[in-house]
């Protein structure tokens, strides 16, 4: 039991972070706060991959003195780090697009409150 806890507690914190991000997306009414929630959600996924890549015995995946190792326990798993580098860039791109959209919305409606915007969406028959 204690073994399961020690081996997995970091995943649990990360998953709680993920759900905090989802909470922000669902419950917050301000569009900027929604984007913040989205960022927390993506960061949680990135942390999940990075946590899974670790090994107790290992160090960063940069070879020392250019000597190829005999055993793999010396370096952590480099693949999730690579994948997350890509995912970070995707996250940056999405935040950029989200803020561009928010600016467009604010210029037209002068508000970022979701309920008011939904009212505009449904009422105004163009």
């Amino acid at each position: 039991m204690i073994d399961v806890f020690v081996g997995h507690y970091s995943y649990w914190f990360i998953l709680v972070l993920l759900v905090i991000g989802l909470y922000g997306i669902i419950f917050k009414k301000n569009l900027v706060k929604k984007v913040i929630g989205l960022s927390i959600f993506q960061v949680a996924i990135i942390l999940f991959y990075v946590a899974g890549a670790s090994k107790w015995t290992a160090t960063v995946p940069v070879l020392e003195h250019g000597v190829q190792p005999e055993v793999t326990v010396q370096y952590i798993n480099p693949l999730p780090h690579t994948l997350m580098l890509t995912a970070i860039v995707v996250g940056v791109a999405i935040s950029g697009v989200a803020f561009a959209l928010i600016i467009r919305i604010y210029r037209r409606y002068r508000t970022l409150d979701e309920d008011t915007l939904l009212k505009y969406m449904n009422d105004d028959k163009e």
């Binding site: 073994d3 399961v4 020690v6 081996g7 997995h8 970091s10 995943y11 649990w12 998953l15 709680v16 993920l18 759900v19 989802l22 909470y23 669902i26 419950f27 946590a51 899974g52 670790s54 090994k55 107790w56 015995t57 290992a58 995946p61 940069v62 070879l63 020392e64 250019g66 000597v67 190829q68 190792p69 793999t72 326990v73 010396q74 370096y75 798993n77 480099p78 693949l79 780090h81 690579t82 994948l83 580098l85 890509t86 860039v89 995707v90 940056v92 791109a93 999405i94 950029g96 697009v97 561009a100 959209l101 600016i103 467009r104």
Partner: protein, 102 residues
């Protein structure tokens, strides 16, 4: 509705936490991910990278070697994503050039 959403989120969280206990312990060097061979006998990618990255690419930083060589196509996709974001900002917010207004 608010309480239903909160309840769904909590159920979702507990499901995820339950599932995560099935994962190997964090840092376990004997986990499937860190073995040399996958359970079906094929080569495991990550241990291949650690053993051969320098031999193949003359690059001590394995992350760079994977990023730009073994999985270079992912990185091309990543570049495309950020180009797409730039184009969308262009599309949504750029003013027209001065010479257009004539």
């Amino acid at each position: 509705m608010k309480y239903i959403n909160a309840f769904i989120l909590l159920v979702f969280l507990s499901l995820l936490i339950y599932a995560s206990t099935g994962l190997p312990n964090r840092g376990d060097i004997d986990a499937v991910v860190n073995r040399d061979r996958s359970p079906s006998g094929t080569q495991n990618a990550s241990s291949y990278y650690i053993r051969n990255a320098y031999k193949d690419t003359h690059t001590p930083n394995m992350v760079t070697a994977i990023l730009a060589d073994y999985r270079a196509f992912d990185t091309l996709g990543e570049e495309t994503v950020i180009l797409t974001a730039g184009l969308i900002c262009f599309l949504l917010l750029r003013k027209r050039r001065k010479d257009d207004e004539e």
